[in-house]
């Protein structure tokens, strides 16, 4: 096949198209009005990355505040806003946007489609998400809260009732939180619908469901999960808005309402949300680990089944965030067991990644470095998760820094590492240039060291009893030195992210030219040019195995013989 000429008959214009210099206004217009999934995907990722820097800066400010006892680097009010906005930003404006950016860019390319199923809806969804984020951050200027000055939400990212009631949160900071997230929620649901419709209805010829790249499979599962998790949050936020604007009593304990039911509603969203974020990280791992191990993924059907299994199980575990509210022992037991059940499909995945690497010819390029660390750290994160699933253990450590360390191990150690790996891996496809490997190694090792300095230590601080969300602490609690170490690690990570930003900017203009297939990979996106033309593929591809490019590269030993 590789030797066949281009499969279009007739004459073809082989002269380069006339190069038209665009003014910046034309370029801006082109990007704002685009419905191209690739441009939207890039915008999603850039937007998410921008907010990663913002949320990271907030985290650094929090860490400076906590670095030593009795510190007053931030005022208590600003501290509350920062930890609220840090959480909200990282989950809704960073995690969700970057993962949907990846899905937007890659799903159509991987299944050999020209665009998403609904290109205009795609643009609409992106702009909803984008404007929602801007509206949330506008609250720093336009919010009028408790103190009569510009005020961002300060009720924690889970906004527990009754703190969110009008009586306790006057002004409109909390309204900004609820309304802005409803807006981003609409965008998110739109994209989720789009991804599912694309993957199911736009596949190229021969791309059966069991031949879809695992990235696409997991994007579908993620999107399906998004449909049933973001919407309960939207519903709960509508209730909150009704309470605050129309005098409703949903979460008003004075009128018979229940504050606990907000916790239920929030975590019915909140826990599957973690899986919405981590499944795309798995998706990235499923693409990168096989390519850099030069082996097909181990146990493809098991991976698919495990992903679907995780999605289902994750819908029944939410109340493990609430062991301390005094549920019946039957409920406690149920949520302990269902939470531990998550360990089975996730364990299958970890085994499969290790088995994929086993006996492979591993290349430790930067993407693979990040993904190797991902497997290791995700395993640790899962193990502390099992510990916290045990109700008595949770009673002891609930809302302590141990919990913070656990979920940051997932969100940073697993998800952010996978996202970095994914950015190094697909950057050449999106820009036509490689990210610099030397800077990449610096980026990885600094981030790896900084991550472990910060979050390993944080476990100990939590065991020593430091609760989350506290403004400061007394010197005699014995948390001072450990907190200082945590903060130092945070700054190492900060430096590493700055190195990455430099790498991103420098490589986009001066990086080594990549070619179409720099990693010797196997999925369809590497058959398109780098960057792909607006129509992706001039003719519709057709595939006959899970690794169509492997078949072309190794015609004597193609995959379809084995599947």
């Amino acid at each position: 096949m590789a030797d066949r000429t281009f499969p279009i008959e007739g004459t073809l214009d082989l002269t380069p198209a006339h190069v038209h210099e665009h003014t910046w206004l034309e370029v801006l217009h082109e990007w704002v009005t685009t419905v191209d999934h690739k441009k939207l995907g890039i915008m999603y990722v850039l937007y998410g990355f921008f907010f990663l820097l913002v949320g990271g800066a907030e985290a650094l400010a929090i860490r400076v505040q906590l670095a030593e006892p009795n510190n007053h680097f931030l005022s208590p009010e600003v501290y509350n806003r920062f930890f609220t906005m840090h959480g909200t930003t990282m989950v809704f404006l960073v995690g969700m946007t970057i993962i949907f950016g990846f899905a937007n860019y890659l799903v159509p390319l991987m299944i050999g489609a020209r665009d998403m199923a609904f290109p205009r809806l795609n643009a609409f969804s992106f702009w909803m998400t984008a404007f929602g984020g801007l509206m949330l951050y506008y609250s720093f200027l336009g919010g009028s809260g408790l103190y009569g000055v510009g005020n961002a939400p300060d009720v924690g990212w889970f906004a527990y009732a009754p703190l969110t009631a009008r009586a306790f949160s006057p002004g409109n900071a909390t309204d900004y939180w609820a309304l802005a997230l409803i807006v981003t929620g609409v965008g998110t649901v739109g994209t989720a619908i789009n991804v599912i419709a694309t993957a199911l209805s736009m596949r190229c010829k021969g791309m059966t469901l069991m031949r879809m790249p695992l990235f696409v499979w997991l994007s579908v599962v993620t999107s399906g999960l998004t449909l049933v998790t973001i919407t309960p949050l939207t519903a709960a936020q509508i209730m909150l808005v009704i309470d605050r604007y129309l005098g409703g009593h949903f979460f008003d304990t004075q009128a018979g309402g229940s504050a606990v039911i907000w916790m239920h509603f929030f975590w019915i969203f909140g826990h599957p949300e973690v899986y919405v974020l981590v499944l795309p990280a798995f998706a990235i791992a499923n693409e990168i680990i096989p390519v850099f191990s030069r082996k097909a993924i181990f146990g493809y059907p098991a991976m698919v089944a495990a992903s679907v299994g995780i999605a289902f199980v994750s819908l029944g575990v939410w109340a493990h965030h609430m062991f301390t509210i005094g549920m019946t022992s039957v409920s406690n037991a149920f949520f302990v067991l269902s939470t531990m059940l998550v360990g089975i499909p996730t364990g299958i995945k970890i085994f499969n990644w290790v088995a994929t690497m086993w006996g492979g010819k591993i290349r430790f390029a930067t993407p693979m470095l990040f993904l190797t660390a991902f497997v290791f750290q995700f395993l640790l994160a899962g193990l502390t998760g099992i510990m916290l699933a045990v109700a008595p253990w949770d009673w002891q450590l609930h809302n302590s820094y141990f919990v913070i360390a656990h979920f940051h191990y997932v969100l940073v150690g697993a998800i952010l590492f996978a996202i970095f790996g994914g950015l190094y891996y697909w950057f050449p496809k999106a820009t036509g240039r490689m990210l610099n490997e030397t800077l990449g190694k610096w980026n990885f090792w600094l981030f790896f060291i900084g991550f472990h300095v910060t979050f390993d230590t944080m476990h100990f601080v939590g065991m020593l009893g430091m609760p989350r969300s506290i403004y400061t602490y007394e010197a005699d609690r014995g948390w001072g030195h450990l907190n200082l170490i945590v903060s130092i690690g945070a700054f190492i990570q900060g430096i590493s992210v700055l190195i990455f930003t430099t790498n991103l900017l420098w490589s986009a203009f001066r990086g080594k030219v990549a070619g179409n297939d720099p990693w010797d990979a196997w999925t369809l996106e590497w058959a398109a040019a780098s960057p792909p033309p607006v129509y992706n593929f001039p003719t519709e591809p057709s595939v006959s195995s899970r690794r169509p490019l492997w078949d072309l590269k190794h015609p004597e030993d193609p995959d379809w013989k084995y599947e």
Partner: protein, 283 residues
């Protein structure tokens, strides 16, 4: 969207959805509707108007026909190939799953071993009785003591004396326990299918002695207070070695591990095993 416009016999341009500003207008409008709630209701009204315009504009883009632009295809020849042509498949040999016991001894062999071992452990026990208390009936009475009616606080001479009842009960206990231990041993054999003597002769007696040592006080206090643990271990090892030796002389049988999943599940279908054979022939 993905239809190609064919002019003549080749593709010159590709239909793609035309860029449009209406989605961003509508998104901005909807955001303003919500933003108005926290700022000024006028902004909500403005937002609603924008959103309405956006919706109508968007609608007119899609209906009755989707707006398209034609993107010219410019061909550049790209060949998909790799520098790493050499493929080495991981060789999976027949014994790849060796760690699963493909063959093991039947459980029945464990019972046979138990019987043999039960007989073989009698001489060391009797030897112990003769050497320590000059009476071969000492161990018999210790084991069978429960069978004697008025056996409450026996003296040393009592234990060394011969009783019919003691012998009968001791024989019965020895026979039953030997059979049961043999059964258990047979069931455990797949754990170490290739080394039945190590399992039976060393590992099992040590574990068994430890367990008896810990629990005997509750089961048979008289035996417990008079037992010599060194000799006990010797007779157990004798039991195990003999049992293991008997087992190792038996024929091995195949475990279910080597059968395909469907057969192990007991699902039957016509031609199931036939296909298996065919594949074997091909290979």
């Amino acid at each position: 969207m993905s239809e190609e416009k064919k002019s003549g016999s080749h593709v010159e341009t590709i239909h793609l959805p035309a860029p449009t500003a209406w989605p961003i207008v509508m998104a901005f409008g909807l955001m303003l509707v919500f933003a108005g709630l926290v700022t000024n209701i006028g902004i909500s009204v403005l937002g609603a108007i924008l959103a309405l315009f956006g919706a109508v504009g968007w609608f007119r883009q899609v209906l009755p026909h989707e707006a398209h632009e034609d993107v010219p295809v410019v061909v550049e020849r790209v060949v998909i190939e790799t520098a790493r042509r050499q493929v080495e498949r991981i060789v999976v040999d027949e014994h790849h799953r060796e760690h699963f016991p493909l063959e093991t001894y039947p459980i029945l062999s464990g019972i046979k071993g138990g019987i043999a071992g039960g007989i073989a452990m009698i001489p060391p026990a009797l030897l112990y009785g003769y050497l320590s208390h000059h009476s071969i009936w000492w161990p018999v009475n210790l084991l069978g003591g429960a069978g004697l009616a008025n056996w409450h606080h026996p003296s040393t001479a009592d234990i060394a004396h011969f009783y019919w009842g003691g012998l009968a009960v001791a024989c019965a206990i020895q026979a039953v326990v030997s059979l049961l231990v043999g059964l258990l041993y047979g069931a455990m054999l797949p754990l170490l299918p290739r080394h039945p003597i190590i399992l039976g002769g060393i590992i099992a007696p040590v574990l068994w002695t430890g367990m008896i040592h810990a629990t005997l006080n509750l089961i048979n206090p008289v035996l417990d207070s008079n037992i010599a643990w060194g000799w006990f271990l010797v007779s157990q090892v004798t039991f195990g070695l003999v049992a293991g030796w008997v087992v190792s002389r038996q024929e091995k049988i195949q475990t279910a591990q080597s059968m395909p999943f469907i057969l192990r599940m007991g699902i039957e279908g016509s031609g199931l095993t036939q296909e298996q054979d065919d594949e074997d022939h091909k290979a």
